[in-house]
């Protein structure tokens, strides 16, 4: 019984490290993306207006996306809301990736409005980059859920 408890403790701390690292990476990504959009806000808004999918909502999306990115970063930073933050990060990355996929395959016009270094990637690199973060945030979200369950039991 004792050894089992010890093993469980070690694996929990491994899980926590993984979660911490992923949270850190995600916070850096979202804050970087949000800040570079805000710093070039006027241009960002015009680029969104060029998008066939978002043109009608360019105004809302222009302040909405950076706001959500910052909000998620705050959630990830806090202990209490981390799980929600991770699921939200996962959802957001899924949406971004779906958007890229549709724009690439079904649209004639391909604008870019991701911010900073992300703009310099090719679309395929961007897609892979996003999928990596989907996997990371998804993994961390699952691990965090399991952790919470374990703590309760």
């Amino acid at each position: 019984m004792r050894t089992k408890w010890k093993n469980m403790k070690i694996s929990i701390s491994h899980k926590n490290t993984i979660i911490y690292i992923i949270c850190l990476l995600s916070i850096v990504l979202f804050l970087y993306a949000a800040v570079s959009k805000i710093l070039d806000y006027e241009n960002f808004q015009v680029q969104l207006a060029q998008s066939p999918l978002l043109s009608a909502f360019a105004g809302y999306v222009a302040w909405g996306v950076p706001a959500v990115e910052i909000l998620i970063s705050i959630l990830l930073f806090s202990e209490r809301w981390r799980k929600i933050g991770l699921f939200a990060a996962f959802g957001l990355m899924v949406m971004f990736t779906a958007y890229i996929y549709i724009i690439l395959n079904f649209s004639a016009f391909v604008p870019c409005s991701c911010g900073g270094v992300l703009e310099k990637m090719t679309w395929n690199q961007h897609l892979i980059f996003n999928i990596v973060f989907i996997v990371l945030s998804g993994t961390a979200a699952l691990l965090q859920s399991i952790n919470c369950q374990n703590e309760l039991s």
Partner: protein
């Protein structure tokens, strides 16, 4: 978690479907497809960077955006292709946008950003520096072996048409392109020169009008394409922080590209007409054919996509309409319904 993923993808898909409706919205004009044209020849160009530079005798000439000194000669039956490398006598200029144009027995090598014009003989493929036009330009066409016409801009930065001769003469006409919104984006279009008819034709990209001008840039007349978009449906935004003008909404492309030959104007239109089959629209591009002499609409034809790529360049010669689709150069035989409108039989 699967729920979140599905919800996320679902939202984006809904946005996409809503935006698609706009593209397939039917317009209030009708096309005539009485005669079907057949594809008679095809050749794999091995590169997606070729463009039409002209023709002479039995050959079509193509330039290459990736290799600006390459000139490909393809026989008009698209059986063989030979790629030549041009030589020019000056490599020291700040080239950024080099293009070639053929005016037999010569060819031009031009860069509108420098600006500069070189000319050489098709026989020798050596081009010599000829002249520096007094303006920067784009959309250049060769009118004869001494003159090239192009689109440039006036002092206010608005687009206008002009020409330059090798003897140093330059001329512009500010009244040909007519501003509707901003003078740059809204007057975008494609320029061709009909050597048979000796007319310059400019087809607007965002509106249903084309301009017929004489080689001296005087206006001949203005014609209309069959669609109903008379005012450019574009929005131009000024981004102060970048000191740049950009499109402020997805623009409505009306006439994507065009070419003029022997009294006929071929226009690749982006607008679906009233009774057309949407499914065909996803597999082909439509070309509307006009008679330049009386500015009338003759008929339309479809040019099918190859490997999901749409046509991106047009050229007509003899009884054939040539198109570049992705890596492939195809030739469609024009039927009598169309060729009977030729200016020079």
């Amino acid at each position: 978690m699967a729920l979140i993923a599905t919800l996320g993808v679902g939202i984006v898909v809904v946005l996409f479907l809503a935006s698609e409706n706009i593209i397939h919205h039917r317009n209030n004009f009708v096309r005539r497809f009485s005669d079907q044209v057949e594809k008679n020849y095809e050749i794999d160009l091995q590169s997606k960077a070729y463009y039409f530079a002209g023709d002479s005798g039995d050959s079509l000439y193509l330039g290459n955006y990736d290799g600006p000194l390459y000139m490909a000669a393809v026989d008009k039956k698209l059986k063989k292709m030979k790629v030549h490398t041009l030589k020019i006598d000056r490599m020291d200029l700040p080239f950024r946008s080099v293009e070639i144009r053929v005016s037999p027995p010569y060819f031009f090598l031009l860069d509108g950003t420098v600006p500069c014009i070189f000319r050489g003989e098709l026989k020798t493929l050596n081009a010599k520096y000829a002249v520096k036009p007094d303006v920067t330009f784009s959309k250049v066409v060769a009118m004869n072996s001494e003159t090239v016409a192009y689109r440039t801009h006036n002092n206010a930065g608005e687009s206008i048409l002009g020409f330059s001769k090798l003897d140093g003469t330059n001329r512009i006409n500010q009244r040909l392109l007519q501003k509707q919104i901003d003078g740059n984006f809204d007057v975008d279009g494609s320029l061709s020169y009909d050597t048979g008819l000796k007319k310059l034709i400019y087809v607007y990209l965002y509106r249903n009008q084309y301009i017929i001008a004489n080689p001296d840039l005087s206006l001949d007349s203005r014609g209309n394409t069959i669609d109903t978009v008379s005012k450019a449906q574009i929005k131009v935004a000024y981004v102060k922080s970048h000191d740049a003008k950009k499109m402020g909404a997805p623009p409505l492309s009306v006439n994507k590209t065009s070419t003029a030959y022997n009294g006929l104007l071929f226009v690749n239109s982006e607008l679906i007409s009233k009774y057309e089959d949407v499914d065909v629209w996803d597999q082909a591009s439509v070309i509307d054919v006009y008679d330049i002499k009386d500015r009338s609409y003759i008929a339309s034809l479809y040019i099918y996509n190859i490997k999901k790529k749409k046509l991106r360049a047009l050229y007509a010669s003899g009884n054939n309409l040539y198109a570049i689709i992705g890596n492939t150069l195809v030739s469609y035989k024009l039927t009598e319904l169309i060729t009977k409108h030729y200016a020079v039989k």
